[in-house]
């Protein structure tokens, strides 16, 4: 049972990392480390930033 929980957590962690769901937390941590007093964006604001970033940095997918 404990093992199953651990596996489920690992899978969840992997998927969140893979899809970039955990990017927001990492971005906040990074901002906080370098500019401790600057306000952090909300999740919603961050998604707008991220979408804009994807807009201007297209990545090719292979065949």
């Amino acid at each position: 049972m404990r093992r199953a929980v651990r596996w489920a957590r690992a899978v969840r962690w992997y998927l969140q990392e893979l899809t970039g769901e955990s990017e927001y937390d990492r971005y906040c941590a990074h901002r906080h480390r370098h500019h401790p007093h600057a306000p952090l964006p909300t999740r919603r604001q961050y998604e707008v930033l991220r979408a804009h970033h994807r807009e201007t940095n297209p990545q090719s997918r292979c065949c």
């Binding site: 969840r12 992997y14 998927l15 969140q16 990392e17 893979l18 899809t19 970039g20 769901e21 990017e23 927001y24 990492r26 971005y27 941590a29 990074h30 901002r31 999740r43 919603r44 961050y46 998604e47 979408a51 970033h53 994807r54 807009e55 201007t56 940095n57 297209p58 990545q59 090719s60 997918r61 292979c62 065949c63």
Partner: protein, 707 residues
């Protein structure tokens, strides 16, 4: 994949550590197992063998290659240094650059390189039998494809994630750099056109397939709004909802097919072309979060899920290979799917899975900016490519498990097969295989398609093969039609994602190039510039898509060699950059590691290109074909498979365009190669090493054991 269980001890060690006895025994065992499997494949003549032997032979070879050859490349040739900070660490900004867990990055990189390519090429190449294709996929990936991916990734990582085009300009020169840039753009256009053609051929006259693929658009829009507006950033839950909706859409397709809506979704190839072109334009100008991003997530989940399912299916169902090991077409070169002899045409038909130049663009894109430790280029560059190669092997298995008669009835050009089951059966008999009209009708009925005749492009063949394998494991014959459309959907999804993303990348490249001529076009947020460049890119690949869909000689049969040559030429550019850098940095002794694959890929592409331009055989040479049809037009004749003089003129135009394009590609790559050779000679003549653009050493602060 064995990659995750392998020890990571590839740091340069002061003295040679002896391999522990247990490892010696383990690797001897792996080598023996692989050798036995290859032996079975080589010696089995006349009897049908199980596909499991192919899987074992491939996996055994991959394991040995990863453990020994990739380690050799890392230790001797590239010499990664884990005490050196990677760009992800030095330039960390929380957005583009950040040290990423290597397992996550492997997934990322794999999702970016693997798409429909490794699924299509091997299916077409199955006309030469399963053995030549398997040998090239396995040997090609070990000595060329994975090497290219790993070395390009390493070089780009040492240059703060520079793109292939920039590296070509910096390391080779301005002429070579400019030629490389134009070649990349032109090659991408061909690639998008051919991939879109695969979708058109898979969806034509198939209401079930068309409905379920069309449904991906509202599903993606819903997902986009959900994770952008309603639950910002919840990607995993949104993707799971999306996948569930997608499965519903496949099931719904069956219902639509049998309802009054069927007519609405039964589209001709030409109509589908216009739908795809329109879709491509809209998708590339809409905000990314609406369509592109959610579709990308959906495609990633489907990709990983389906590939895992296929691996399980192949191992559990252990299907028998029904195709010949080496068919007569391998030597005669008169195969109906693609013309030309084994050398060079097998090697350009199977690109992705063995050696794919397009990967160099991904390996010099996002991935190098995310690597945590230098030595991880081995697992991410080499390892991910081995995984893609395995996908190609499974596609080959799926095609080789089909009855050869059915395979040819699906993949020969429509002009040869005719429209009815009788004519197709007759034509297949003419090729030396048998399938009765009744069997052909039954096969179509089993997957609930109107017809399977001349469904070229690889996707339908793979889908039939996958439905056979899957239905043997999950659900039985009742599920066959579901699995068929599942496979079609998943290929179409990959391809449409590539088309979206490729159109956008192409637009940026075009804006960049045109921006040099007229400044405003280069501005990334000037709307008219965006629309103009998007329209130009879509029109360019749309042209090839349209000619492919209407070509009397069969679009895939005509265009696929062009696509293969283009992709392999890109590999030639990438390997030329790698070899030049190795020589410039004083590693002439190891330059063969990329130099030999470079020589090989130049040999196959230039031979193939030469034959496509100069061959007297109208089946192979584009200009011979043009002459044949032009002469007939002058004489007022209509040559089959053309049905009218209009068709004849279409053939003349298409073969001229294709021939000129191949000549242009060869010329561009020749410029890069000559420029690279000049730089190499200059480097060898100069007493020291020539300057390269590697970023300076900075000590890493991430502890070495942390990863």
């Amino acid at each position: 994949m064995p990659t995750s269980t392998l020890p990571e001890t590839d740091l340069p060690a002061p003295e040679k550590p002896r391999m522990p006895l247990r490892s010696v025994l383990l690797w001897t065992g792996v080598a023996l197992l692989g050798a036995v499997a290859w032996g079975v494949l080589a010696l089995a003549r006349g009897e049908k063998i199980s596909a499991v032997w192919l899987v074992v032979a491939a996996l055994g070879s991959y394991a040995i290659a990863y453990r020994f050859y990739s380690r050799f490349i890392a230790r001797r040739v590239l010499r990664p240094d884990d005490r050196r900070a990677t760009p992800a660490e030095r330039l960390e900004d929380g957005v583009d650059f950040h040290p990423t867990d290597r397992r996550v990055l492997l997934g990322h990189h794999f999702a970016a390189i693997a798409g429909a390519g490794p699924l299509v090429g091997p299916v077409l190449a199955a006309q030469m039998g399963y053995l030549p294709g398997t040998l090239w996929i396995v040997a090609g990936v070990i000595f060329a494809g994975a090497v290219q991916d790993m070395v390009v990734l390493f070089l780009s990582m040492r240059r703060d994630g520079k793109s292939l085009g920039q590296m070509a300009r910096d390391e080779i020169g301005r002429a070579g750099g400019a030629a490389a840039l134009i070649a990349v753009f032109a090659i991408m256009i061909i690639l998008l056109g051919v991939l879109a053609l695969v979708v058109v051929n898979a969806l034509a006259h198939s209401p079930w397939g068309t409905f379920s693929v069309a449904m991906t658009i509202p599903i993606a829009l819903f997902m986009g709004f959900w994770m952008h507006r309603i639950r910002p950033g919840r990607v995993v839950e949104t993707s799971l909802i999306g996948v569930a909706l997608l499965l519903l859409a496949i099931v719904g397709g069956s219902w639509v097919q049998n309802s009054s809506l069927a007519g609405t979704f039964t589209l001709s190839p030409t109509t589908l072309v216009f739908c795809l072109v329109g879709y491509g334009f809209v998708a590339s100008v809409l905000p990314v979060w609406m369509l592109l991003a959610p579709r990308d997530y959906l495609s990633t989940f489907m990709k990983i899920g389906t590939i895992a399912l296929l691996a399980v299916g192949v191992v559990v169902a252990a299907p028998v290979l029904r195709a010949d090991a080496v068919s007569d077409f391998a030597t005669s070169g008169a195969g109906p799917v693609f013309a030309g002899s084994l050398f060079p045409f097998l090697f350009i038909t199977i690109a992705c899975g063995a050696l794919s130049g397009f990967h160099a663009l991904v390996s010099s894109g996002t991935t190098p900016k995310l690597i945590q430790k230098e030595s991880q280029v081995r697992m991410i560059g080499y390892g991910a490519m081995l995984m893609e190669s395995f996908v190609a092997i499974m596609a080959l298995i799926a095609a080789a498990t089909l009855e050869p008669g059915l395979y040819y009835a699906m993949n020969a050009p429509a002009g040869l097969l005719g429209a009815t089951a009788e004519s197709a059966s007759h034509a297949v008999a003419g090729l030396g295989f048998t399938i009765t009209p009744d069997q052909l009708t039954q096969a179509a009925k089993a997957v609930e398609e109107q017809t399977l005749i001349a469904r070229s492009g690889g996707a339908p063949t793979l889908a039939v093969g996958m439905s056979e394998i899957f239905s043997g494991v999950f659900g039985g014959t009742a599920m066959k039609a579901f699995w068929y459309h599942f496979a079609i959907m998943f290929e179409a999804l990959f391809i449409l994602t590539t088309v979206d993303a490729g159109t956008r990348v192409g637009r940026f490249m075009l804006q960049d190039m045109l921006g040099n001529v007229w400044k405003p076009v280069g501005r990334v947020n000037w709307k008219p510039g965006i629309w103009l460049c998007s329209a130009l890119v879509v029109a360019a690949w749309g042209y090839f898509l349209y000619t492919g869909a209407t070509d009397p000689l069969g679009g895939i049969n005509q265009l696929f060699p062009l696509f293969g040559i283009a992709n392999q030429l890109l590999a030639a550019i990438a390997l030329a950059v790698c070899t030049t850098v190795l020589i410039k940095s004083g590693r002439l002794r190891w330059a063969w590691v990329t130099g030999v694959p470079l020589a090989w890929v130049v040999a196959i592409t230039f031979t193939a290109g030469w034959q496509k331009i100069f061959s007297d055989d109208p089946k192979i040479g584009f200009f011979a074909q043009r002459a044949k049809y032009a002469d007939a037009i002058d004489a007022g004749q209509v040559l089959p498979p053309a049905k009218s003089l209009d068709d004849m003129h279409t053939v003349v135009t298409n073969s001229t365009v294709d021939g000129v394009l191949i000549a242009l590609f060869l010329l561009l790559v020749a410029v890069v190669l000559v420029n690279a050779a000049v730089v190499c000679v200059r480097s060898l003549r100069s007493p020291g090493t020539l300057p390269t653009t590697e970023a300076p050493y900075v000590e890493s602060r991430i502890p070495e054991g942390a990863h």
